[in-house]
């Protein structure tokens, strides 16, 4: 989903694009486990298993969340042996999370 077919328009309604892209990424971020993972990854490098444990979910589900966030360009995966480390690549996430935590507080 989410084919950016770029605006056929130029009415006054302005470009939907910026807002649509933003909405898609925000939607991906807008999940408690994914927020927690980003929070952790801003502070270190973790494997799928470690992130899963911190969220209290099975690792195959963490894997799925990480895949979604990768798809948004938030992070990349670095494999080491049979482990997979995830690392943030989107610099704006730090600011964004700072705003979010300023409003809602950090997880423990």
């Amino acid at each position: 989903m989410s084919k950016k077919s770029i605006p056929p328009k130029s009415i006054a309604h302005s470009t939907p694009d910026a807002m649509e892209q933003a909405a898609e990424c925000l939607k991906t971020l807008a999940h408690p486990h994914r927020l927690r993972m980003v929070h952790m990854l801003l502070r270190g490098r973790y494997t799928v298993g470690e992130l899963a444990q911190a969220c209290g979910i099975p690792s195959h589900m963490a894997s799925e969340h990480l895949r979604l966030m990768q798809r948004c360009g938030f992070m990349i995966c670095e494999k080491e042996g049979r482990k997979a480390y995830y690392k943030l690549t989107e610099s704006h996430l730090a600011n964004l999370m700072a705003c979010i935590e300023a409003r809602f507080g950090s997880p423990v």
Copy 2:
């Protein structure tokens, strides 16, 4: 809506709360029309109809989006005659939108 049946756990996994609340609000924000409305409301005071027109949607749908955002505490409604003006009340939205626009650009 949204019964949080949350897993029966309370190990070291920390408070789910901050992240869950944040997720819920972010999810509400994560919609192209709602983002645009917030973007506009950061710069002025608009009626449902004006916001609807800017988004290119019927006003009864704008009304629904505004109701959701009100429920999150983003804004309040001020009625004047038969018009309804919406006004932001959540100060963190300015920062949050600034982050978002820094990453994705503003709508026209």
